[in-house]
């Protein structure tokens, strides 16, 4: 594989960006209610200024329910994949992923606390989710610190401990809820993109873009970190600073996703892996590619989740797992 150049990166991102746009448009034609394709495309092209013959209900379905949901799916997918790519580079482990490291669960606990105690105030959710993610990161890192520093193996082990501990905490909190709440929480925990709050959507999208940008700007440092902390230090990388940035940004990305939609698993694991396999390990290309690819992946998975047993819905996390797990096994075999 040739080394990565600016040109190669721009071309790949343009292609993926185009595919993403295509997905947004085409998936907004699918849903539990049938919408006339031509009129919908016309309305989309006009960016919602013209109804193009859609009834007011159809228009609302397209622009108030479907499109925001698809955009949220893109934000969630982009965030989780970017966070995954960041963790994998920083921790030098292709298996590092927000869920496995307990970060998702930390964010989930934070969100649950926000929901139970501050239910009405929406913006507290991503805030507490971020705090939870950060707390989990801190716990994992402290647990993993041994004499030889936090080796990737110890980090994964610590992550598993923190994940399982937080999972039990989540189960404990759910047992204190009544039956109806439990049902909806269980669904949410598996990933639920149906509750799109109008106010939080632009926040989620902004965080995804800024987060991906922030990590890409550290891509060269991450390239060196991927090959050893000590080597990176010797070659001029401010390891401590980069580590803090990646942990903070990744926690923000995971917190924002989980607060919006619960735990959508496998995205942070499979998408960055695919990006690296097809485009190389250079983070300058694989991080933006993971962000775009993650958005694509979750949009498609969510479309399946909301159409396959229409008018009922499945949790999107179930679909990402169904696709992600076999895909991951296949990837493992190839490597």
């Amino acid at each position: 594989m040739n080394r990565v150049t600016l040109r190669k990166t721009l071309i790949s991102c343009a292609l993926l960006g185009g595919a993403l746009l295509l997905a947004i448009v085409s998936m907004s034609l699918l849903g539990s209610e049938r919408l006339p394709a031509r009129a919908s495309l016309c309305a989309l092209a006009s960016l919602g200024t013209r109804a193009c013959g859609l009834t007011s209900d159809q228009f609302d379905i397209l622009f108030q329910i479907r499109l925001p949901r698809i955009l949220l799916a893109a934000a969630v997918g982009g965030s989780l994949a970017t966070a995954g790519a960041g963790y994998q580079a920083l921790l030098r482990n292709p298996l590092a992923e927000p869920y496995l490291l307990g970060i998702s669960n930390g964010a989930a606990v934070g969100t649950m606390i926000a929901l139970v105690f501050f239910g009405a105030v929406e913006w507290i959710r991503p805030l507490l989710a971020f705090t939870g993610a950060l707390a989990a990161t801190f716990a994992v890192y402290r647990l993993a610190r041994g004499r030889a520093g936090a080796t990737p193996e110890r980090l994964i082990l610590a992550g598993v401990i923190v994940t399982t501990f937080l999972s039990s905490a989540i189960v404990f909190v759910t047992t204190m809820m009544d039956a109806t709440r439990i049902r909806s929480f269980t669904f949410w925990l598996l990933g639920d993109l149906s509750g799109t709050s109008k106010a939080l959507l632009p926040v989620a999208i902004t965080i995804t873009i800024l987060g991906a940008l922030a990590l890409t700007l550290h891509a060269r440092s991450l390239n060196l970190l991927m090959l050893g902390e000590r080597d990176a230090f010797d070659l001029g990388v401010e390891v401590g600073r980069v580590r803090v940035v990646v942990f903070l940004v990744a926690s923000l990305l995971v917190g924002s996703s989980v607060a919006a939609s619960g735990s959508v698993g496998y995205v942070g694991l499979v998408v960055p892996h695919l990006a690296r396999l097809s485009l190389g390990s250079d983070n300058r290309i694989s991080i933006p590619a993971a962000a775009l690819g993650g958005a694509l992946f979750v949009i498609v998975a969510d479309t399946v989740a909301r159409t396959i047993i229409a008018p009922r819905e499945l949790p999107v996390g179930a679909i990402t797992a169904l696709i992600g797990a076999p895909l991951f096994i296949y990837l493992l075999k190839r490597v």
């Binding site: 849903g31 539990s32 209610e33 209900d57 609302d60 379905i61 108030q64 329910i65 479907r66 949901r69 047992t175 009544d178 039956a179 109806t180 709440r181 439990i182 049902r183 909806s184 669904f187 949410w188 639920d192 149906s194 509750g195 909301r306 229409a310 008018p311 009922r312 819905e313």
Partner: protein
């Protein structure tokens, strides 16, 4: 014998009418009771039961309603009606009742509602010579039957029969009042974010039908499906029912985002009804039936 317990579990999957299901189930129950030789769960003689434990709120309400409240020695933490029930010892919640506590109370009979409780407990309770009675009414007729059966088991047959007659009268009165009225198209919102509704197999769907209501989700498979926002919007219900209050507190008191522009919301036809009336298949289901009918067909009750 075990097969019987799985029927309520499996039956909703088969496209068989609820009435036939209940009959088949009772038939099998009767047959298996009859066929069992030496197995403890055979109920012999109503006066034998002096200590009973209930593992579901609706069953607790039935026990008190048939006048056997003094025989109740154990209840779940969710069993909060009637107020006298709160004086009874708690044995945990509906999902994880404590087997030890149940056994310590030395009941002769345990009333069970859900199939999940079944699998865990039946065998262990039987090992302790404690009889188990399962009833999970799917509709109003099922409730009447449960009341009758529980009344018999607890030696309150007469009182149970009187109660069922009264309840039946009230139900018939409602159905008569709304007969001939155009059924109202209603969306039943179990929770808003995320959006859950009552499906084909939900108990409340039968109540709605009797109250002169067409639930827009009456054909959706399952009991409490998670529903698509789009389809809710497209359904354009004329009215929305929000089960809230009771043991639920203030939760679910707002119409979900997707329905805020529906004919129901725009015309203010949003009705909050005590959740306990609608989700506990017991005597207060009639209160729920009446509340819904009055809310949706006010002119029928002048």
């Amino acid at each position: 014998m075990l097969f019987v317990f799985f029927v309520p579990f499996v039956a909703p999957c088969a496209p068989v009418s609820r009435r036939i299901q209940t009959v088949v189930w009772l038939l099998l129950l009767a047959i298996s009771f009859g066929c069992n030789s030496g197995a403890k769960p055979v109920l012999d003689g109503p006066a034998r039961v002096t200590r009973v434990v209930s593992l579901a709120p609706n069953l607790t309400e039935i026990v008190f309603a048939v006048g056997a409240g003094d025989k109740l020695v154990g209840r779940t933490s969710y069993c909060d009606y009637p107020p006298e029930a709160k004086a009874v010892a708690e044995i945990g919640d509906t999902l994880h009742p404590s087997l030890e506590r149940i056994i310590a109370l030395k009941p002769q009979l345990v009333l069970i509602s859900t199939s999940s409780q079944l699998e865990v407990f039946t065998q262990q309770l039987q090992n302790q010579n404690i009889r188990v009675f399962v009833t999970d009414p799917q509709d109003l007729e099922g409730v009447f039957k449960s009341i009758t059966q529980i009344g018999e088991m607890l030696g309150q047959k007469d009182q149970a029969d009187v109660l069922v007659t009264k309840l039946r009268e009230r139900a018939n009165a409602v159905e008569q009042a709304v007969k001939g009225k155009a059924p109202v198209r209603v969306f039943y919102q179990v929770s808003g974010e995320p959006l859950y509704t009552a499906g084909r197999d939900a108990f409340v769907t039968d109540l709605m039908h009797r109250a002169g209501i067409t639930s827009v989700t009456a054909d959706v498979p399952g009991a409490w499906p998670k529903y698509s926002n789009e389809s809710a919007l497209a359904a354009k219900p004329e009215a929305i029912i929000l089960p809230t209050g009771g043991s639920m507190g203030a939760a679910n008191s707002e119409v979900t985002e997707a329905l805020r522009q529906s004919p129901a919301a725009l015309r203010g036809r949003v009705y909050k009804i005590n959740d306990d009336y609608l989700t506990r298949p017991g005597p207060r289901a009639i209160d729920g039936l009446e509340a819904m009918a009055r809310a949706l067909h006010p002119d029928a009750f002048k």
